[in-house]
């Protein structure tokens, strides 16, 4: 029997069940008894989003007024009533040169988002033009065995998102390569477990900042001859080392706690040690391994921002830090845009892993 794949199944599998409800709403398939479900799944979340924006808007307004009042009072005390009046008029006119610097309102954040997109379009056009201009020269340089000239302009916001994703996936891959084999070995052998346990317990809670410094010390010396920028290498290694612990611990736990019934099956069938590991122990610990990988990916994404910021490696973390240092009138709203982008990407990564995890997991009682 072939199972048909419908939108409903796919979205439910990915944990995005509300999409089906939305689709049913527009195609008019919604039954009356589904109305409560519709209310709960669509209307309530939408209402809570609106409420959130409302609170944000009024909160930002309160903060704005407080900051403005303080500024005017300060001007009054320092420079006299004329300056205070001038400042008051300036703030009221909306001139960007004298706006209070505080939490931006939702509308400002939306404007910044659009301006970041415009900025991206300008930079991409610039890049394309540069590529066209240097195409002939680069071809010549490559033919001569020289390095081609690359675009060294400022990266756009989108470029930085892509860079961050690259860093996080490189770090995730590193975590996967280190943690899974070690986890399997530790899970299989109690001797190795007691040999490594202190190591895991001590290094697991170490903060991302310290990991970064440690990696920096080592990589800096290893790459001492290289003239290339090592910030990417340092940041992805730090991300990997920081985030691998969940996978390591979960893999070890999964491997060491395989159901006794499966082990008995392996014994009765007289599977060799290699077969036993690959045909019984690993498949049965896959669900736990993937739970670990899911945690690893979300931790990687979370620490990435801090590490990029420290490593000065291009990406969202550096973007946030530079905007903060920049202090332009729209810096704060750009930081909030970055915050939402980070959150949404984190959510999508989590759903991606959840989907994979659902695909490989099985109920423990299914075969028993």
């Amino acid at each position: 029997m072939k199972q048909s794949i419908t939108l409903g199944k796919v979205t439910k599998f990915m944990g995005l069940g509300f999409l089906t409800t939305l689709k049913d709403l527009f195609t008019g398939k919604l039954e009356k008894e589904d109305f409560v479900k519709f209310l709960r799944k669509v209307v309530v979340p939408l209402a809570s989003i609106l409420l959130f924006i409302g609170i944000w808007h009024s909160g930002a307004k309160v903060l704005y007024n407080r900051e403005a009042d303080f500024k005017i009072e300060k001007a009054l005390a320092d420079q006299g009533p004329e300056a205070a009046e001038a400042l008051k008029a300036c703030i009221a006119s909306g001139d960007i040169s004298c706006q209070p610097n505080t939490l931006p309102a939702p509308s400002q954040v939306w404007e910044s988002y659009k301006s970041l997109l415009r900025d991206h379009n300008i930079i991409s056009a610039d890049k394309a033009a540069f590529k066209e201009k240097t195409a002939a020269l680069n071809a010549k340089r490559i033919a001569e065995g020289k390095e081609p000239i690359v675009y060294t302009g400022r990266p756009s916001f989108i470029d930085q998102i892509v860079m961050s994703l690259k860093t996080v996936f490189a770090g995730f891959l590193l975590a996967l390569i280190i943690a899974i084999p070690i986890g399997i070995l530790i899970g299989l052998s109690p001797t190795l477990k007691s040999a490594f346990n202190w190591f895991i317990q001590i290094f697991k809670p170490v903060s991302p900042v310290v990991w970064y410094l440690l990696v920096f010390m080592i990589v800096k010396t290893i790459l001492i001859d290289s003239s290339d920028d090592s910030s990417f290498t340092i940041s992805f290694i730090s991300v990997g080392l920081c985030s691998m612990w969940a996978t390591l611990v979960n893999t070890a736990m999964g491997v060491s706690s395989v159901d006794k019934d499966y082990i008995n099956v392996a014994k009765v069938l007289k599977l060799g040690p290699f077969q036993k590991v690959f045909k019984v122990i690993l498949p049965s610990s896959l669900p736990l391994i993937f739970t670990g990988l899911k945690i690893t990916l979300s931790v990687a994404w979370m620490v990435l921002i801090a590490i990029e910021l420290l490593a000065q490696s291009p990406g969202l973390g550096l973007f946030v830090w530079e905007e903060f240092q920049n202090g332009a009138n729209d810096s704060n709203s750009k930081i909030i845009v970055a915050m939402f982008v980070i959150g949404i990407i984190g959510f999508l990564l989590d759903r991606l892993m959840l989907t994979i995890q659902n695909a490989v997991s099985f109920n423990k009682n299914e075969g028993l």
Binding site: L271, F362, G367
Partner: protein, 282 residues
């Protein structure tokens, strides 16, 4: 020489004060081609006994002899049908059986092995489900896969640990017949562990009750002199059946009561009086 021999088996778990004595003084001989059933209450050590025979466990003292040789680990000669089907949930029905036969017949070609898998899947009537995973099957179907897996390995002796315990009465009856058919076809030796006296009488040549643990031991054996093939509906009217059944149940009831009367423990309650709060909140 007996086919399978258990001599003075004693089995305990743990050490020192935490020792749990499960089996004590177990003596059993099974001849080749015989169908023996062991009946006992849940928790009386049946599974431990089975695991000693199939080689998953070693006795603390005493010996298990299989064809005169001491049992040392599991063997393909003794096929096991587990109480909980123990299928690997990430493999399909076919793959579960294929994995087993591949280990037993490493020299056979892929096609031969696949044919063997198909043959046994068909035997238990699951050809339509060969590519399904255990989670898509009902309990009865899963148990049939487990039966097919054990039998496809062509063991000389089949050891069944309450194989039908979790099934409904109808499926149970069908599977009993299937197992009997296969056993009858090439007269393998079979050991059935069960908690159902009727099942034991219907299937076995001999029934041996297991006195419940701790320190469980085997009771007197009951021979079943009913001609094969046995018919379930006629069995109810068979005087021999009734007699044996009553005798076994009576025996089991007696040892059950014995256990209860042994287990009288007096809990002394401390003398307490409810505290009186009357008049305290005035």
């Amino acid at each position: 020489m007996a086919y399978l021999e258990l001599n003075n088996i004693y089995k305990s778990y743990g050490q020192g004060e935490n020792t749990t004595e499960v089996l004590n003084n177990i003596n059993l001989t099974i001849e080749e081609g015989e169908f023996v059933a062991i009946v006992g209450f849940t928790g009386s050590g049946k599974t431990t006994l089975v695991n000693l025979i199939n080689g998953l466990l070693e006795p603390t003292s005493g010996e298990v002899l299989f064809k005169g040789e001491p049992v040392n680990g599991t063997s393909h000669e003794r096929g096991v049908i587990f109480q909980n089907y123990s299928l690997l949930p990430w493999l399909t029905v076919g793959q579960n059986i294929y994995m087993a036969v591949k280990e037993v017949f490493p020299k056979k070609s892929k096609k031969e092995l696949n044919d063997l898998v198909k043959e046994y899947v068909e035997m238990v009537g699951l050809s339509h489900a060969i590519n399904k995973r255990p989670k898509e099957l009902s309990g009865g179907m899963r148990q049939r896969v487990a039966v097919a897996r054990a039998l496809a390995m062509k063991p000389e002796m089949i050891i069944m640990d309450e194989p039908l315990g979790a099934l409904d009465a109808l499926t149970r009856g069908n599977l009993q017949d299937e197992i009997l058919n296969i056993w009858g076809k090439d007269k393998r030796t079979a050991l059935l562990i069960t908690n159902d006296v009727d099942e034991g009488i219907y299937m076995a040549d001999r029934i041996i009750p297991l006195k419940p643990g701790p320190r469980a031991t085997l009771g007197p054996e009951f021979k079943i002199d009913i001609e094969r093939p046995r018919d379930k509906t006629e069995l109810n009217d068979n005087p021999n059946f009734k007699e044996t059944r009553n005798a076994i149940i009576e025996y089991l009831m007696d040892i059950g009561n014995e256990r209860k009367s042994e287990a009288v423990e007096v809990f002394e309650l401390p003398e307490l009086e409810p505290k009186s709060f009357v008049g305290r909140f005035k």
